[in-house]
């Protein structure tokens, strides 16, 4: 057993975990953050995408003990006080969600992209979400949603996302 400390969506957490536990299982089963999904468990589908120190990773391919000292962001950190993030609202406005299983991972990949590149090109969006499989939408609406979020964030520099420093 290993005792680890890390932050999840800005909250400091401490957990005692077996070496064999994945970060995904820690989030879902210990911290009850079930927004992050398990699709394949082997890095293929992207449903389990979270941000590790600002970078998208697949949490099914990382051990919980490896998260010691790191900063994790999940889909639960997007809405604050019930108010949706600009990205979430854009997904709704563009109809970028159908069954919704891929959506948490998609949004975290998009969040990582907007952290790196605030005004991504069509190609850059495709590359950023190439690791997130969606069985329903055909991807076009998702790409539009990310473009819409990027545009709204750049126009509305006073938005909550910008204030949170998310639009960096």
């Amino acid at each position: 057993m290993h005792t680890i400390r890390f932050t999840v969506n800005g909250h400091v957490e401490q957990a005692t975990v077996p070496a064999t536990m994945t970060l995904l299982d820690l989030l879902r089963d210990r911290l009850a953050l079930t927004g992050t999904k398990e699709g394949c468990g082997i890095g293929e589908c992207g449903a389990c995408t979270v941000l590790l120190n600002g970078n998208p990773i697949t949490s099914c391919l990382m051990l919980a003990v490896e998260a010691d000292g790191s900063d994790i962001e999940t889909i639960e950190g997007e809405a604050i006080g019930g108010e949706l993030s600009v990205l979430q609202q854009a997904f709704i406005d563009e109809g970028a969600t159908q069954c919704g299983f891929c959506t948490p991972g998609m949004i975290m990949s998009a969040r990582g992209l907007l952290n790196r590149i605030p005004d991504p090109s069509h190609e850059e969006i495709i590359e950023a979400i190439a690791g997130n499989l969606c069985r329903c939408t055909g991807y076009e609406a998702i790409i539009s949603a990310i473009q819409l979020a990027a545009a709204r964030l750049s126009q509305d520099i006073g938005s909550r996302d910008a204030q949170e420093g998310r639009a960096r």
Binding site: P18, T20, T22, R30, I57, T58, L61, S109, G112
Partner: protein, 302 residues
């Protein structure tokens, strides 16, 4: 509130499942290379170095490997360094691929290698996966291998008997097998800088999007020496580096035919989930033609 959930029946089942799925191992985060070598030596072949885990954890989950200890070397400073300069480069063993791909100097110095690394998996995967892990995993399809072979890279290793430098052409010995002894840790990959070389990397996949290579191939051409070096992946138990080929092109098409013959006689493709041996044999001459087109057009040979 949250901790209450840990003890519910459902969570207990998931917890147990966690054990079953990911085997049974201990985890050690080492602080120095020496400590790592000693841990590895003590475990006598029952330990594995954990870098990004994108191969290792999948293999453990699929019961293909069952190490007793995972030695995490990501916190050792010496392994986190990247040096790219004119005399050559050293890529630390725990540097994630995205850090290389997003490093401008790396990109301009080794464009073919950057292309190969960008073709590995997905953005999320490349946030964790390493170059060292890609070669130590020793898959015949490892995308970095053909480029490292034509660039004449070497693998810097430390074991309990001290350091050694292994030319990449001697590194792979079979499917998933390298020359590393169980106590050895790869510290860095050294890549000579040859400004005169034109290099290129091609990857034939089943789909556009992320997929392992059906065949991958790298070429490096020196216009001054008129020497071509080619390496091919996914067509033999290890990636294959051909002997340097003297470029003497009267007619590019017949030269390509000549090179394709050398390639076909140097590989032994099998049929697997990604392609038949027939398809691989058929696509190899096509890739040779494309590589020669890229390199010789760029390299100014006529």
């Amino acid at each position: 509130m949250r901790s209450l959930f840990c003890f519910s029946g459902f969570k207990f089942v998931r917890f147990q499942r966690g054990f079953i799925v990911l085997g049974d191992f201990e985890y050690k985060r080492i602080r120095s290379i020496d400590e790592g070598c000693h841990c590895l030596a003590e475990a006598a072949g029952k330990a594995a170095v954990l870098a990004g885990g994108t191969d290792l954890l999948v293999e453990i989950r699929n019961h293909l490997k069952s190490p007793k200890v995972l030695i995490d070397c990501k916190n050792v400073d010496a392994l986190k360094q990247v040096h790219v300069d004119r005399s050559g480069s050293a890529i630390g063993a725990s540097v994630p691929l995205n850090r290389l791909i997003e490093n401008r100097a790396f990109h301009t110095t080794y464009p073919a290698l950057a292309t190969a690394l960008l073709s590995i998996g997905t953005y999320q995967l490349r946030s964790r996966a390493t170059l060292a892990g890609n070669i130590c995993n020793a898959s015949p399809a490892a995308d970095s291998a053909p480029v490292l072979l034509v660039l004449d890279a070497s693998v810097e290793v430390v074991g309990i008997r001290g350091p050694r430098s292994i030319p990449i052409r001697d590194f792979f010995v079979g499917v998933k097998k390298t020359v590393l002894t169980p106590d050895e840790i790869v510290v860095s990959i050294q890549i000579p800088q040859r400004a005169d070389l034109h290099t290129t990397f091609l990857k034939q996949q089943r789909i556009r999007g992320h997929d392992l290579a059906v065949v991958n191939m790298a070429g490096a051409y020196s216009p001054g020496e008129r020497i071509l070096r080619l390496a091919i992946g996914s067509c033999a138990p290890t990636p294959v580096l051909l002997e340097p080929i003297k470029v003497d092109v009267g007619n590019v098409a017949s030269f390509a035919g000549h090179v394709a013959e050398i390639v076909l006689s140097s590989v032994s493709p099998i049929s697997d989930v990604r392609a038949s041996s027939g398809y691989r044999n058929a696509i190899l001459p096509v890739l040779v033609k494309r590589i020669l087109h890229n390199l010789l057009a760029e390299g100014g040979a006529s």
